[in-house]
Symmetry: C2
Subunit: 119 residues, 2 copies
Amino acid sequence: MANGSRCAACRQLRRRCTSDCIFLPYFPPNDPQRFSVVHKIFGANNAGKMLKQVEEYKRGDVAESLYYEAQCRVEDPVYGCVGIITLLQQEIYNFESQLAKIEAQIRLLKAQGVATPTL
Amino acid sequence: MANGSRCAACRQLRRRCTSDCIFLPYFPPNDPQRFSVVHKIFGANNAGKMLKQVEEYKRGDVAESLYYEAQCRVEDPVYGCVGIITLLQQEIYNFESQLAKIEAQIRLLKAQGVATPTL
């Protein structure tokens, strides 16, 4: 394969890119940063193993989720995307509290039989 | 350091564990699976780099979040903990819909001046 069409992984790793390269379909040469981030966090070998261990039709999603996770870790070196999970769980807790309050107000409203409650 | 007190990382990598080993405080020998999972997903070198690049007092959280992420990836090789983020976002969307419905019902209730609404 000509140099011009090597995938982003083979370019960065300075190696030949064969037509059966595991990275080729998911790390195109026009987006070198995508592979670079995955390489930095997971390493090329581990990322390659994770792609190979699932059926071919799922590999696009593996590459996408590895890229997302790796970006999170670069942005937040301490918590990575676990920080996002914590934030979302907090948001859900807030929603639950909000719902519980509204439901309590509705119960009160029903009990009082007030026509124009101040909710 | 005696073999018996090598950290889980140095045990698995079959190397000497020095008192300044980056893994020693976060991967104790009595929990080999903890390091094993992090090693499988991120690789020992990358995990070591990620620990070293933050201040010492934050390293416990780095080790914990790496372990959580790695476990997620082992359980869900396609989406890892990005799958959890998607689920939580869906849950938040459902809460938002639920709240919007309840608020619409309350507005209706106020407008109708109904004492005992069927909510």
